[in-house]
Symmetry: C2
Subunit: 217 residues, 2 copies
């Protein structure tokens, strides 16, 4: 596997390929052509070939792709089998839901537990994972060399906890707080889930449809 100069757009398509291939594998499909894969994903076959060419040769002209092989390669590129360590900061409804409903967090990573400020939950567990006192966050991150912090705290304390995580040396922050986090240059990677962006895209399309209907009448 090589890693060339890969654009952000390609990187962001890789998880989509992985989901699609998981889906094909679960349906028992063994091979797929770039034509068919493209049709199912709304991409052109040449775009697919170009995306994969960033990482080497995955298919043979005229034979299509081997689904299982391609899944493994893309998983490898995305680092899914490396067991990066992860913790959750903020064990409220959202944090709890992530742990309980989204197996991929547990399966793909070495999930070490959650941190919270609430004395009522500290010392209890979520699905068998311990909830620690946020006071111990710094020492824990340093000692365990935590790779990824999943940030699910209220917006008002998001920056404060980000600063603490930066200080402790976490490598990446997965941000669910719906606010922009400031990290110093060379600090952790931040990937934010902006729920509202996605809802606004829906609303855009509804508004557009309504405006078109109005224009017609």
């Amino acid at each position: 596997m090589k890693r060339g100069n890969v654009s952000n757009n390609v990187i962001r398509r890789l998880p989509r390929y992985l989901r699609k291939l998981d889906d094909l594998a679960s349906k028992g499909e063994e091979r797929i052509s770039s034509d068919k894969l493209g049709r199912q994903m709304g991409l052109t076959p040449s775009q697919i070939r170009q995306d994969f060419s960033c990482f080497g040769e995955f298919g043979q002209q005229g034979y299509g792709y081997n689904v299982d092989f391609l899944r493994q390669e893309i998983g490898q590129i995305l680092g899914t089998y490396r067991g990066y360590s992860a913790i959750l900061v903020g064990a409220g409804n959202l944090g709890t839901a992530l742990i309980q409903n989204f197996d991929f967090i547990i399966e793909g990573y070495s999930f070490l537990g959650a941190f919270d400020v609430d004395p009522a939950v500290i010392g209890t567990d979520v699905d068998g994972f311990p909830i620690y006192d946020v006071k111990d966050l710094d020492a824990f991150v340093r000692e365990k060399k935590v790779d990824i912090a999943i940030l699910t705290v209220p917006r008002g304390v998001a920056q404060e906890l980000t600063d603490a995580l930066v200080e402790a040396g976490v490598r990446a922050i997965w941000n669910f707080t719906n606010t922009e986090l400031e990290v110093p240059e060379g600090g952790p990677l931040v990937e934010s889930i902006h729920f509202s962006d996605s809802l606004l895209v829906l609303t855009y399309h509804l508004a557009q449809a309504d405006d078109e209907k109005k224009d017609e009448s």
Copy 2:
């Protein structure tokens, strides 16, 4: 306001502009140049001018943009002030967290309540919004002409509930189930939050950094 032939990439940038402008407004900024806006958002000034030109003229050459005016215009384009009606399907941890923590759902829309199967929560409320029996979903959606259903049910029942929502005539589904939903052609718009995609992008960058370190040593 006009709506030309707007690409998906432009549409997906609009919520980011709106967030940035909200942020500038809250800091008391009244005007901003496309240069400065570009630097802060990692876009080129010409890309910004091009994006906005899809919808008309928002700035005056040399004077930059009026922050408040631009906010209102982009909000208008995104349909944020239209009071689209929304319901939540699945009042578990994730659904509850969305209602409790993300004011934009409540503020920007006409939020009508939640639906669940659990007798223990049916008849109670989340932050003052009623939780109804999912048996009444069909009649409710038809009667209230619900625009948006926020789908936060377990993956195993996601398609079944999607089918029910399609049948009842909902216009849009905001999908949090981490699975691809099938809807008929001409059916509701679907916008999916794929949590795992975003986590995998983080992991990609961690893996890349590790590989580079290995290559150097």
